[in-house]
Symmetry: C2
Subunit: 77 residues, 2 copies
């Protein structure tokens, strides 16, 4: 099973992106995890290490896709 | 069937995004079309009307998701 992680911060841009992209992923191929960085600040280091600069972002098998722009990661500290 | 359109311009950022996101879409739910705007300049107006500002971009049921940043649409004219 492949791994997909959607990082967001609860912002309107994030919610809109989540509603479309997370729903569109093939759940037969991807195990999808959703992480709210506003609520789980302990995950910020993990997001940063993955290469995430802003949210919303989707990490597919380690490949970072920044989707639109809600907030810079630095604004969530 | 829902409609997904992936717009790109053949740039490295586009190809990388295409390889991950297009493959991850649920083909049971989405009919996926891929449009190379560098080769099909007649589709630029359609992309612009959809709200696309840069490529690569994925339009899911009319909802525009700009994925990372390869090139501004204005650079493709």
């Amino acid at each position: 099973m492949n791994k997909a992680i959607f990082y967001h911060a609860g912002c309107p841009v994030c919610v809109s992106a989540e509603e479309s992209i997370v729903d569109a992923l093939d759940r037969q191929k991807y195990n999808v995890e959703i992480i709210h960085l506003g609520e789980k600040k302990e995950k910020l280091a993990q997001a940063e290490a993955a290469g995430i600069k802003s949210v919303p972002a989707l990490v597919l098998d380690g490949n970072v896709l920044h989707i639109n722009h809600g907030a810079d990661l630095s604004a969530l500290r």
